[in-house]
Subunit: 129 residues, 3 copies
Amino acid sequence: MQEFQVQTPREGFIDITAEVAAAVSASRMKDGICQVFVPHTTAGVTINENADPDVVADMLKALNHMVPELNYQHGEGNSRAHVKSSLLGCSLTIPFADGKLVMGTWQGIYFCEFDGPRRRKYRVQVTGQ
Amino acid sequence: MQEFQVQTPREGFIDITAEVAAAVSASRMKDGICQVFVPHTTAGVTINENADPDVVADMLKALNHMVPELNYQHGEGNSRAHVKSSLLGCSLTIPFADGKLVMGTWQGIYFCEFDGPRRRKYRVQVTGQ
Amino acid sequence: MQEFQVQTPREGFIDITAEVAAAVSASRMKDGICQVFVPHTTAGVTINENADPDVVADMLKALNHMVPELNYQHGEGNSRAHVKSSLLGCSLTIPFADGKLVMGTWQGIYFCEFDGPRRRKYRVQVTGQ
């Protein structure tokens, strides 16, 4: 398992595709599943388009409209960030073959910050042979 | 890893359970985890009820209401499809035992199209022994 | 693969972290990926804060506002529960090392009930070495 750190803005999506690909390569495994895990409860991880940065900016805008402002009870005042974290999830799996991630042409892996800025981390676990 | 193709409508959920089950069977592994991966950024994959087709029709209706029409920046005009893709996700894992998927009685695996019609694909990776 | 049962309320999040951790320990594997799978279509599984129970109560409140009341077709009247199930997902993966789940300080694993009360189950599959 490899651990990476990422410095985040107040909110936003950070492309971590290159780091995850390097972790798969470093494992020296040929075929299997790569798992990305975010150990935080107000951040997440998702895969989406990495060609036009407007796509993830639009996604953040949509999430901010979708997750309602309500009379939440949690004292820290960041309940909406917790909800966004669970909507996108903190864990995803990606196949690899010949030591390389097998993703789509337009796909990138994004660390999703909903309650920054913070020094965050994520872990990559490679399973296979 | 096995790759499958699917011809999609403009939007909709296509049941791919039988193909995924066949991929597990073809692997000749007995026990482990089956991963389904969609290499697109305006499509996704989910598990939900396969007994009454109204369920996935209702889900699509709900998603179309939940994901707001906003002043998006992405030039292709399909930002809402990108958001729906990340909400359901492009990757999921399913356990199998004795060479068979271990799912619930009412569960089916659905390829989710949000920006078709297109010729799409998905991949199934089987890990175990 | 190990199977667990859980008695649920009408709706709510039940902390299953200890059971999942015990399943990893019982596998006697040191390193790998633990998969949690919910074989139901109106329930799900998510990871979020387990320190303040208000967080998951707020999440449920947000989901109930986000998933709209519409003129659904599914005859059982629980379409919104099906939608919530797919939004959070029925499957997640967590890394482990030295026989222990490697999660964040504030993270817990929650079985998410959207259409109870019921006697539910979930399965834990451990893959690794």
